[in-house]
């Protein structure tokens, strides 16, 4: 059975996206990208560096089957993000852009106001827009209305490894979303990626947890397996669980079997 991720009119056979910063070297990064089976990888425009040893773009562009998603990390405003997106498209030819506007350089939490404005303009420019956002169900709907191809709420702060701290908001967000919800940021363990998929996320994006692992390629493969397991569990239908055991004799027998 085919279970593709549909994003902006494109189909992908992996639900794991990976980020490409923070690796110990480009070879470790490309090895992890291959091992992850990811079809979508995001690269900061600031790390495009033609013909240099620290360039992340060319080594990824050389891997068959990958779609590059330039991101606007470094932008503080909608104007800056739009300019970065345009340049990213020009350099990479990718129809996708990941809008990242996190003006506070310490916690890197997304600015919802600037992000919404940038997404609105970029969607009009024909981009498949993937915004990094706070786990805010209202903002997610506003971005859907603005024409985003997906929304990417955070599980916890970038690089924090704190997992799905926003689980309650994610549940509300997923419940009503008409576009794919891809959890981005904060995951540390594959089990957290599986949990996100079981909740109904369409995908997850992982960077630090892979880049900083002792063996990044092996961790990338572990995340891939977890995402598949979580997705399969979601499709299989998880059993309901309550706070206590279900009573063996029906509580409503006094109604004598009458139907409402």
């Amino acid at each position: 059975m085919k279970d593709a991720l549909l994003l902006g009119g494109y189909e992908f056979d992996s639900r794991l996206m990976i980020g490409t910063g923070k690796f110990s070297d480009v070879a470790a990064m490309t090895a992890a990208a291959r091992a992850s089976g990811a079809r979508l990888v995001t690269v900061a425009l600031s790390r495009f560096h033609r013909a240099a040893s620290d360039d992340l773009y060319q080594p990824l562009a050389a891997i068959p089957g990958l779609t590059l998603v330039p991101n606007t990390s470094g932008a503080r405003t909608a104007d800056e993000a739009v300019r970065a997106a345009m340049l990213g498209r020009e350099l990479s030819g990718s129809p996708f852009v990941k809008v990242e506007i996190h003006p506070n350089p310490r916690h890197l939490l997304p600015d919802p106001i600037e992000t919404h404005e940038a997404c609105r303009r970029l969607a009009k420019e024909g981009f498949a827009v993937l915004p990094y956002i706070p786990a805010d169900p209202v903002l997610a709907k506003r971005l859907e209305d603005a024409g985003c191809a997906a929304v990417m709420p955070l599980g916890s702060a970038i690089g924090s490894g704190r997992g799905l701290q926003t689980a309650e908001m994610l549940r509300l967000l997923i419940q009503d979303s008409l576009v794919p919800v891809i959890v981005d940021a904060g995951l540390r363990a594959p089990s957290e990626a599986a949990a996100a998929m079981e909740m109904g996320c369409a995908g997850v994006l992982v960077n630090s947890a892979i880049a900083v692992a002792k063996n990044p390629a092996a961790m990338a493969a572990a995340f891939a397996a977890a995402v598949q397991a979580g997705r399969a569990a979601r499709l299989a239908g998880l059993m309901d669980c309550g706070e206590s055991a279900s009573p063996t004799s029906p509580l409503t027998s006094f109604l004598g079997g009458q139907e409402a």
Partner: protein
């Protein structure tokens, strides 16, 4: 710490040691019997880490510093290189090789020489250039600096300046010319010692310098780098004040980047002798303590430090480093006769040798982590 208002000024705008604002005052935390009740920035934790005596504690701090650096910044070291535009200077900083009363061949790069130096840096692979001058003087003033910034911004994605303290309008002018960051060290946060060491010239104005990073961030500069020149005064007092300064900036300018550097003056023949030399173990402890207390703040270490110390600190607290620096004017194309530079460069490795070391340690040397498009 109150200073005598009767201290005579040799010249310059300040008439006596400045009364420093609360946010740059380490005083309340230095006296163990008078720790303030209110400690919103947990200065007390920093002080405990700085004074934690057993050597075993240092190893524990290093491990935690490495973990935090890795989570937040990854297995990556960001590289930059300084470009000394001019060593003309109007100030008399007692500790500086370029002070106005030093016998020193005075040079200034002319536009074609600036281009040639920038090109030499580009050939080394540098994409983050820090442009330096002395204190404001006719040979190297605002017009000269703005022109140099614009030239550098045409070649490099990231351009910063380390120069004299300026007005907000002047910072805005440089930001508009393509300057993304300001580096400015308070040298010492002790107003009386500051007055003593800065013998004449515009730099005597303690408060004008202390508040320069605020003005720069308010004027639209993306980031500032601050530091204390260790070796001048009581190192613990200065780094506690430095920490408070960083927290002040982070609270006041929520979108501004604040990075911290740890320059120190070493006892060195032919150079000024530090009054309070800071050894390797203390400097390492200071850096670890900052990483533990400011996990998200970039921390930088320059080529003032020896190769072995830099190699050891890379990635365990430090995430930014200068590389293959020349501290002489015109130094990237030729050795300059009779010029010892502003300070002695102790790590003299070229870019390749330095990057090989980083890679051996499992760290990626990153030259470009910025896009010029954000400066427009």
């Amino acid at each position: 710490m109150s200073a005598s208002p009767s201290f005579p000024a040799a010249s310059g705008p300040a008439t006596g040691p400045a009364v420093r604002p609360d946010w740059a005052d380490p005083g309340p935390w230095l006296d163990a019997s008078a720790i303030p009740e209110r400690d919103d920035d947990d200065v007390g934790r920093l002080v405990r880490l700085l004074r934690d005596d057993p050597p075993a504690a240092l190893e524990r701090m290093a491990g935690e510093a490495e973990r935090l650096t890795r989570c937040r910044f990854g297995r990556v070291i960001q590289l930059y290189a300084p470009l000394y535009l001019s060593n003309y200077c109007s100030s008399g900083c007692a500790y500086c090789g370029y002070a106005a009363d030093r016998r020193q061949n005075r040079l200034r790069l002319e536009p074609d020489e600036i281009e040639a130096e920038l090109e030499a840096m580009q050939r080394m692979g540098i994409d983050d250039a820090l442009l330096l001058t002395g204190e404001r003087c006719p040979e190297a003033g605002m017009d000269y600096l703005a022109d140099a910034v614009a030239r550098a911004a045409r070649r490099f994605d990231h351009v910063g300046i380390e120069s004299f303290a300026m007005s907000a309008d002047e910072y805005q002018r440089l930001a508009d010319a393509g300057c993304a960051s300001l580096t400015i060290y308070q040298e010492t946060y002790d107003p009386a010692l500051y007055q003593d060491l800065h013998r004449w010239g515009p730099k005597r104005d303690y408060l004008f310098r202390l508040e320069a990073p605020d003005r720069a961030l308010a004027a639209g500069m993306r980031a500032v780098g601050i530091g204390a020149l260790l070796g001048l005064g009581d190192p613990i007092a200065d780094v506690v004040a430095l920490y408070r300064h960083a927290r002040h900036l982070q609270r006041r300018h929520w979108r501004g980047g604040v990075a911290v550097s740890f320059p120190r003056v070493r006892p060195e023949p032919g150079y000024w002798q530090p009054r309070r030399p800071v050894g390797d173990a203390l400097l390492a402890r200071v850096i670890f303590a900052f990483r533990l207390c400011l996990p998200d703040t970039p921390l930088a270490l320059s080529t003032r430090e020896q190769a072995a110390f830099r190699d050891g600190m890379a990635g365990i607290g430090i995430n930014r480093m200068s590389v293959a620096s020349r501290t002489t004017v015109g130094g990237y194309r030729r050795a300059v006769e009779g010029d010892g530079g502003q300070f002695a460069v102790r790590d003299t490795r070229d870019v390749d040798a330095f990057c090989r070391m980083l890679r051996r340690k499992g760290l990626e040397p990153v030259f470009k982590n910025w896009a010029a498009i954000f400066n427009e």
